[in-house]
């Protein structure tokens, strides 16, 4: 009998990376999967899910079999799915993030239920990080304990007896450094073995036995609860009210039983936790010897960076530097990208010759794509800095320093992270709020984050500021640059004040917490920074690219075609005008273009909304741009390109110049005067013009209520403010 028959697994094996926050799960995940990762969503909830493929060598070492034959050494490759779970402290979750971990690990029928767990612990903090470990171990899951940050073992003079730890905890223990990449091969082997014969790794006895009261509840409920063992049943009894895989009927039974036996969830949790600490603390003391005080550097740095006075000042300096660098460094790559797309457009036009396909390609697709891709340098640089600050450990300090202020506005210190990231893109910023445990604080953060000026607003600002502010400067300060900074402040100020307004309206009895760990300062793992930047840029290109491409094509169609007869009528009218006024060819083409735009579907839409936007100083052409911007504000520039260049011969003229030439037929004044430009700027600062963000708000808040409120609030704010600005300035 040979033991090497290959039994095809029913599904790809799932390996979960689980551990406390900041233990290095994502770093290890990046190391194991590289760029072969997908970001999706955990089913039913809103949290980002990262999964990737890991190839394990399937090596069957020769085994002496009963009949004396030696089984052949079979080599193969097995692919497993590896999931980066959010960080959790214990099986008693406080935030959405942690709930998800408990939800998935207590649901053996779920898709994400792991076949094996790679438990990642920070080797310098084993005395804290083993709490969740013992809990998961009691759930009877095959596990390997990874002692991450093994590079710090020597550095800090730590002594760890790995073998002893392994025998006392009765799981394989592998020291790994996700930073230096050591220990990975051994880890892969252990994982492969874990998956091959999970039975060999089952725990013999639990770390913790439920107390008397809990036992009464459990003995009553074991029959109805779909539990693997006592501890699993205990967790289901604790969390039945919110776990998604527990049917309503069972929830009632659990509730009744809890009341009947006087089971107090909180008290039981505290008792359990204390008992667990008592169990594993001696093990840690026995196997880990502490060396020199490792955090003295952190102490020194924090004396300055979190200083009562210097702390916030340094924060401001860092932010100023960040935005300075953002604009300074992104200038030339942006010019480069613009140049590439302009040449591409000219090239395509030259090759294909005039025609509707050329127009669609050049004015629609290429102009639209160029409009999106030109943001890449800025998004990349901003996320580079944010990822860097996070990696180093600074963002937690910012949350600590500003918690008091944030509380006054109804937010949480952790909101700072969202409000900074919002300046790159509101979508990941909104996702980052899931670490805020208090629902009201989280909701307020989600609601106001889109008011911060995301990078999609930058090109809109750039174009309009040249009409709003004269190009003068005093010393190093240019008026236009100051206006730019002013718009950013306007955005963040509006966000804070709106939070305050919502705070006063919404009531919530729920307690709010800070309780924030301040991790040691660490020099960054550059791979993590790189992966983050790459992923954000990729998501942006794909998501925004899709919308923009679609809108450009639709918009091009709407502005090229019109109701039957209307376009022909426009053409004959222009013809007669050309004859009577004796216009030359260029003038005739321009006239034709503008008359046709007016006669097109887009023109009709613009005309229809013109009465509503006239008080803001906009004409029907701006109306078209405004209308399409509600899908995604970054199409503003592309729309302008389409509106002002269709059919015209002078498409090499820049949009800005073309806009400057635009004359209002009623007043004879330029359309883009100071008042209109400021009014438009204010409108774009405040308006909710991003379908993708609305979709994320809906997902994160679990319904249409809050995205609708957010959209309405921001749009009304934009409309009213823009009107006030226009009326005052004109």
């Amino acid at each position: 009998m040979h033991s090497n028959q290959v039994t095809a697994p029913a599904r790809t094996a799932v390996v979960g990376l689980v551990g406390n926050p900041n233990s290095g799960k994502s770093s290890l995940f990046n190391l194991l999967t590289g760029l072969r990762q997908r970001i999706g969503n955990f089913p039913g909830v809103t949290v980002e899910k990262k999964s990737g493929k890991l190839k394990l060598a399937e090596i069957r070492t020769p085994v002496g079999t009963m009949d004396g034959e030696i089984a052949e050494d079979v080599r193969g490759v097995r692919e497993v799915e590896i999931i980066d779970f959010p960080g959790a402290y214990s099986c008693y979750p406080t935030s959405l993030d942690e709930r998800l971990v408990v939800q998935e690990l207590t649901n053996p029928a779920g898709d994400l239920y792991p076949d094996a767990i790679v438990y990642v612990a920070d080797v310098t903090k084993l005395d804290k990080h083993l709490l969740l470990f013992t809990q998961l171990r009691d759930l009877d899951l095959p596990m390997v304990l990874v002692l991450n940050m093994a590079d710090l073992i020597e550095e800090t003079g730590l002594k760890v007896d790995v073998e002893r730890l392994s025998s006392r905890l009765r799981v394989p223990v592998v020291p790994v450094s996700a930073r230096q990449g050591t220990g990975v091969d051994e880890l892969k082997e252990v994982i492969a073995d874990l998956l091959r014969n999970p039975e060999a790794y089952r725990p013999e006895e639990p770390f913790y036995e439920p107390g008397t009261r809990a036992r009464d509840v459990l003995s009553e409920l074991r029959r109805v609860l779909p539990a693997r063992n006592n501890y699993h049943a205990l967790l289901l009894a604790h969390h039945a009210s919110w776990l998604k895989h527990i049917p309503e009927k069972t929830r009632h039974l659990v509730q009744e039983s809890r009341v009947k036996h006087g089971f107090h969830s909180l008290r039981a949790q505290v008792e359990e936790t204390m008992e667990r600490y008592d169990t594993f603390e001696p093990i840690v003391r026995d196997t880990v010897r502490r060396g020199t005080n490792q955090s003295s550097l952190t102490d020194k740095v924090d004396n300055v960076l979190t200083h009562q006075i210097f702390g916030p000042l340094i924060f401001v300096v860092i932010m100023v530097f960040l935005f300075q660098a953002l604009f300074a460094w992104s200038a030339w790559p942006m010019d480069g990208i613009e140049w590439i797309f302009e040449s591409l457009g000219t090239g395509v036009r030259a090759i294909l010759g005039p025609g509707w396909l050329t127009d669609l390609l050049v004015d629609g697709v290429i102009a639209g794509l160029g409009g999106v891709l030109v943001f890449i340098p800025q998004i990349a640089i901003l996320f580079f800095f944010i990822a860097l600050l996070e990696e180093v450990g600074y963002l937690a300090r910012a949350a600590y320093m500003f918690d008091s202020i944030m509380q006054r506005f109804g937010l949480n210190g952790r909101s700072v992270v969202a409000l900074i990231s919002g300046h790159a893109c509101a979508i990941p910023a909104i996702m980052s709020t899931r670490t805020i445990a208090n629902w009201k604080e989280r909701l307020l953060t989600i609601l106001v984050t889109p008011l911060t000026s995301c990078s999609a607003r930058i090109p809109v600002y750039v174009i309009l500021i040249s009409f709003a502010v004269p190009d003068v400067s005093w010393g190093p300060f240019g008026a236009q640059g100051l206006a730019f900074t002013g718009l950013y402040f306007l955005g963040i100020t509006a966000a804070m004040l709106s939070a305050l307004a919502f705070k006063l309206v919404l009531k919530s009895p729920e307690r709010s917490f800070l309780m924030l760990e301040l991790p040691e300062y660490r020099s960054p793992v550059w791979r993590n920074v790189g992966v983050t930047v790459w992923q954000k840029v990729k998501t942006f290109i794909v998501e925004a690219g899709k919308i923009i491409l679609l809108i450009s094509v639709v918009l091009w169609g709407l502005s090229t075609y019109g109701p039957p007869g209307a376009m022909d009528a426009a053409r004959t009218q222009v013809q007669s005008q050309v004859e009577t006024q004796g216009l030359d060819d260029d003038q005739a083409a321009d006239l034709l273009a503008s008359e046709q735009l007016e006669a097109s579907f887009a023109g009709h839409i613009g005309k229809a909304i013109e009465p509503a936007i006239r008080p803001l100083g906009y004409d029907w052409k701006i109306g078209i741009a405004l209308f399409s911007s509600f899908a995604a504000r970054e199409v503003f520039v592309g729309t302008m390109a389409i509106i002002y260049s269709i059919g015209s011969t002078d498409d090499e003229l820049r949009i800005q110049d073309r806009m400057a030439e635009e004359i209002n037929p009623r007043t004879g004044e330029p359309v883009y005067n100071q008042a209109t430009a400021w009014s438009l700027l204010v409108f774009y600062v405040f308006a909710m013009m991003c379908m993708a963000t609305t979709a994320v708000t809906k997902r994160e808040t679990g319904g249409w209520k809050w995205p609708i409120i957010q959209f309405t609030f921001m749009t009304v704010l934009a409309y009213v403010s823009a009107m006030v600005v226009y009326q005052v300035l004109s």
Partner: protein
């Protein structure tokens, strides 16, 4: 030797150190225990946050930010 007295950590000032005796609030106790704050841990107050109301504390060797109310439920002996 004076009889050990317990006081709430909120009454502590910067630089003082003590050993955690127990917690006065079950809800907060559960969370504090989870992040590694437990009876027997050594707590020292390092500094106050820039705009008040939060404290930078050290529990054993780990740094933590706690609000005043959170500190208030920790009894020190």
């Amino acid at each position: 030797m004076p009889f050990p007295r317990t006081t709430t950590a909120a009454l502590y000032t910067i630089g003082t150190t003590g050993v955690i005796d127990r917690f006065t609030n079950e809800n907060l106790a559960g969370k504090l225990l989870d992040i590694g704050v437990r009876p027997g841990s050594r707590l020292s107050i390092i500094r106050k946050s820039p705009f008040g109301s939060c404290w930078y504390v050290k529990i054993d060797r780990h740094c933590l930010a706690l609000r005043k109310q959170e500190l208030a439920c920790i009894l020190i002996k």
